[in-house]
């Protein structure tokens, strides 16, 4: 049985246990009329039984599935001849892959295969142990489910507090769910860090952080003529900053002015249609923005540049930056709106009462008072722009140019992560590991920006509360 069937089997067993638990408790009480003498309602007995049936079985299934493939693989390697076991990990991986492909065939005809007989024997072995494992897994899960049901049923009595037991279990489950966020963060940090450490053992960190040449093409085989691979990430950082800067130059004034106008000047009617407009801009998927940037904005900028006699790359940083700016406008505007609205009304009214015009009040009173909130908003927007992927993947270039000219093509950290990881390649080459090192940089930078921005915003809110 495969995992999804097993899950259905477990669910069915749990459902049955629910019914069984109810029946048992009613019988124990001595009939449906005497249910009131039980410590808990029959339903609660039933639910408790169902949980005792389902939870351990699901946990066993989860643990088994998590380790099944690696255990099977090490068992398989164990029976291979010694000279194959001694192969380097990449070649061993290829060899194992061959075996897995052969083993995926429904029927193996061992007699007719003279060539690669070893592989066929290994495949046969793999088929056997896979079948055994599947059988063992199903048996184990059913046994676990039935034993735990038997155990909990055996403890039923009229004084047995099923509700308290049930609620304790549910509470633990709820707590585990809330811990998933922490596990996710931990998983991100560990996976990215682990691969990065491997990368930094091949490429020294200073070369990565301060090198100015990026060309991650490495030789696949030792006899191949190819670049030795240069992993200087400065051009990527510079490109990311350039595109982010263009996006901010475009989005901060527009977003800020939109927020000011909508919160201070606009009629409720205009506001009621402008808010959905901003929501549309915020809700459009980034891949759509990427399409817009690559196929509408970039050609437009190139043609305009040609008319003015400028040479513009067809994947210019400007196009990607402007469209990223469009994407960020609603973000900047809604956060600035919050910041402006958090300024106490008394400040505004005082200024207006002294005879200042509304624009003077905004420029000289409201904005200075709201500046920490606005700075926080801008920092969050910067972090968003740095981590944005699809727009730059589709509209920015691949080549790592170290330039500050927005009309040229640059590449970014996220573009390189995607490029390095979306081919088929072995997992432990410096090329793929470099993507994780870039991911680490990205994670650390955006995390620092977010933490700092949230701190600024919170501190400022406390000031006025």
């Amino acid at each position: 049985m495969n995992s999804s069937t097993l899950i259905f089997v477990i669910l069915f067993l749990a459902l049955f246990s629910y019914w069984f638990g109810i029946q048992r408790s009613v019988k124990m009480a001595g009939g449906i009329t005497k249910v009131k003498y039980l410590a808990s309602l029959p339903r609660q007995y039933g639910l408790l039984t169902a949980l005792w049936c389902g939870l351990p079985a699901l946990i066993v299934l989860f643990i088994w599935s998590a380790f099944e493939s690696s255990v099977l693989e090490s068992l398989l390697i164990g029976v291979l001849p010694a000279e194959i076991q001694a192969l380097p990990s990449a070649e061993l991986g290829l060899y194992l892959n061959d075996i897995k492909i052969i083993a995926a065939e429904p029927i193996l005809d061992l007699s007719s295969q003279n060539e690669a007989l070893e592989k066929y024997q290994a495949a046969n072995y793999l088929q056997n142990i896979t079948a055994n494992a599947a059988w063992l897994k199903s048996a184990l899960i059913v046994v676990v489910a039935l034993t735990s049901v038997g155990f909990i049923i055996s403890r039923f009595s009229t004084e047995f507090g099923a509700r308290v037991k049930l609620e304790n279990i549910v509470r633990v489950v709820l707590m585990a769910c809330s811990g998933i966020a922490v596990l996710t963060t931990l998983g991100i940090i560990l996976s990215v860090l682990f691969e990065s450490i491997q990368f930094f053992s091949a490429v020294p960190p200073w070369e990565f952080l301060f090198g100015t040449e990026w060309s991650p093409q490495t030789a696949m085989r030792t006899d191949q003529v190819a670049g030795s691979g240069a992993f200087g990430a400065i051009p990527l950082f510079a490109g990311t900053l350039l595109i982010t800067a263009i996006a901010m130059v475009f989005s901060v004034p527009v977003g800020l002015m939109t927020a000011i106008y909508l919160s201070q000047y606009a009629s409720p009617r205009l506001r009621s249609i402008a808010k959905p407009m901003l929501e549309i801009l915020a809700g459009v998927p980034t891949v759509v923005y990427g399409f817009f940037a690559a196929l509408t904005v970039a050609p437009f900028i190139r043609d305009t540049g040609d008319l003015m006699g400028l040479s513009v790359a067809s994947e210019s940083a400007l196009a990607a930056g402007i469209v990223m700016g469009i994407m960020i406008i609603p973000f900047v505007s809604s956060l600035s709106d919050d910041a402006i609205n958090a300024v106490p009304k008394a400040l505004k009214e005082g200024s207006l009462g002294m005879g200042a015009t509304l624009s003077e009040t905004i420029k000289l009173v409201l904005l200075p008072a709201a500046i920490p909130g606005i700075v926080g908003a801008i920092l969050l927007a910067v972090s968003r722009a740095i981590g944005e992927t699809m727009i730059v993947v589709m509209a920015a270039g691949m080549a790592a140019n170290l330039t500050a000219n927005p009309l040229e093509s640059v590449t970014t950290v996220t573009v390189q992560i995607v490029t390095l990881l979306t081919g088929d390649q072995e997992f432990d080459s410096p090329k793929t590991l470099a993507a994780f090192a870039l991911g680490l940089m990205l994670f650390v930078t955006t995390l620092a920006l977010n933490v700092f921005a949230l701190k600024v915003v919170r501190k400022y809110r406390e000031q006025y509360d």
Partner: protein, 434 residues
């Protein structure tokens, strides 16, 4: 200012404050107007951008919904097909390409050279051979007879017909000769523009005239299903725990900070997590909606938890107190009274989170959902792609006809998002009323 014009300061000294203010008033009001204008321009720019974005995509998408077909007179001659009887098994293996070629050449007897013939044949979709095969299999009585069969044009001809073209003149990827043949087709009135329903019913293809979104839509549906089944219970459970049960201590503080930070982590990082942990350590299959759903769950969980917590917090404490006072346990209060009242808000947050996940592309590229997949996936562990990734793949394709297909796929995606957001808005309104 120290370097003031002496005449000005003289003038200023002679005036009273009221007069000074009155004098500066015009300038200040002009500034006020300018500022207001700037604000209005910013809002206007926002509207303009939305209009440009949507109309650009709609205009580009329009051609994708129609397809040009041509009526060919196909001679199902047995010697061309290489069959001896009308036996179905034999008909299935017959040589339809030859029949198609010869029938087409038969319509243009003056086309002679090999190269000319090839470029004539290229005007018809590669799929035409299967179209006539299907036709003959459906009506085997036509064997040995001539039948009129509608087949698709190639995507280049199709795009050419959809553009403003001058009859008989060469267009992009259409030679002058082909354009003239096309004119002959048009003169015979055997060209038809039809609604392209295949766009919704077929999977991906390398041939733009055959490519459809069904595979991607199914992949999206499966991925969203996994995401919903995982993220909704997990998110609600976490929110209930944090709001109703969690003691105020270090651990809950850590969880809170964590959730807030996770909400701002770039989505591509979740893709790295999926690749390194879910695929490489747990060994789940690459490109599968299951993995995509898990990754998107981790990504949307913070959104759902934050929204659910806000919604649970908004339930008046009197409800809890009344339930507890009547002897309900904390658990019964939470699940029986607080949760139902918070449900509209939780659902709104979930829909918004799902809408985010629906449009997400970057993490799915990392876990290999970017492969070219023709088949429509049948389960959560089959290789699949999703709508946003399909858009990305098509946008990258060089064929011109894919431009329209991409835009059409975007329209499909945007309409899904629109529906989800409208439902969320309606729910929110209902919630606010209560």
């Amino acid at each position: 200012m120290t370097d003031k014009n002496p005449a000005d300061s003289n003038l200023a000294e002679q005036l009273s404050t009221t007069e000074k203010v009155a004098l500066s008033l015009r300038k200040r009001h002009r500034k006020e107007k300018r500022f207001q204008w700037a604000g209005l321009m910013a809002v206007g720019l926002g509207f303009l951008l939305v209009v440009i974005l949507i109309s650009d995509i709609v205009l580009k998408a329009r051609p994708a919904f129609h397809q040009h077909w041509v009526k060919l007179e196909v001679e199902f001659r047995q010697d061309w097909l290489g069959v001896t009887s009308s036996d179905l098994a034999e008909l299935k293996k017959a040589n339809y390409r030859s029949v198609l070629r010869r029938s087409l050449y038969g319509m243009f007897p003056d086309v002679k050279g090999r190269r000319d013939k090839r470029s004539l044949f290229k005007m018809i979709s590669t799929n035409a051979e299967f179209t006539i095969k299907q036709y003959l299999l459906d009506t085997p009585t036509k064997l040995g007879k001539t039948a009129e069969v509608w087949v698709r044009f190639d995507d280049d001809i199709d795009s050419y017909l959809k553009d403003d073209y001058t009859p008989g003149e060469a267009g992009p990827r259409v030679s002058k000769q082909q354009a003239q043949w096309l004119q002959q087709f048009l003169n015979k009135e055997i060209v038809d523009k039809r609604w392209n329903s295949e766009f919704f019913t077929s999977g991906d293809s390398r041939e733009p005239e055959l490519a459809g979104v069904r595979g991607a839509l199914t992949g999206t549906l499966l991925t969203m299903l996994v995401t919903l089944l995982l993220s909704f219970p997990l998110g609600v459970a976490a929110a209930i725990y944090l709001e109703e049960f969690a003691p105020k201590n270090r651990w809950t503080d850590i969880i809170e900070v964590n959730i807030n930070n996770l909400a701002a982590v770039p989505s591509i990082i979740f893709g790295l997590l999926g690749l390194a942990v879910i695929i490489n350590i747990f060994g789940l299959p690459r490109s599968a909606p299951l993995v995509g759903g898990i990754v998107l769950t981790l990504m949307t969980l913070p959104t759902i938890i934050i929204a659910s917590r806000a919604s649970i917090k908004a339930v008046p404490p009197s409800i809890r107190e009344a339930a507890l006072g009547l002897g309900a346990s904390k658990m019964q209060t939470a699940f029986g009274h607080v949760l139902p009242m918070a449900m509209p808000g939780i659902l709104t947050g979930t829909i918004i989170g799902m809408a985010q996940a629906l449009g997400e592309t970057a993490p799915l590229l990392m876990i290999g959902m970017v492969a070219f997949i023709v088949d429509v996936p049948a389960g959560v562990t089959d290789a699949a792609t999703v709508l946003p990734v399909q858009i990305y793949l098509w946008a990258d394709s060089p064929e011109r006809a894919f431009l329209a297909k991409t835009s059409a796929a975007i329209l499909v995606l945007l309409s899904f998002l629109l529906i989800m957001n409208s439902v969320a808005a309606i729910l929110r309104k209902k919630f606010e009323k209560n």
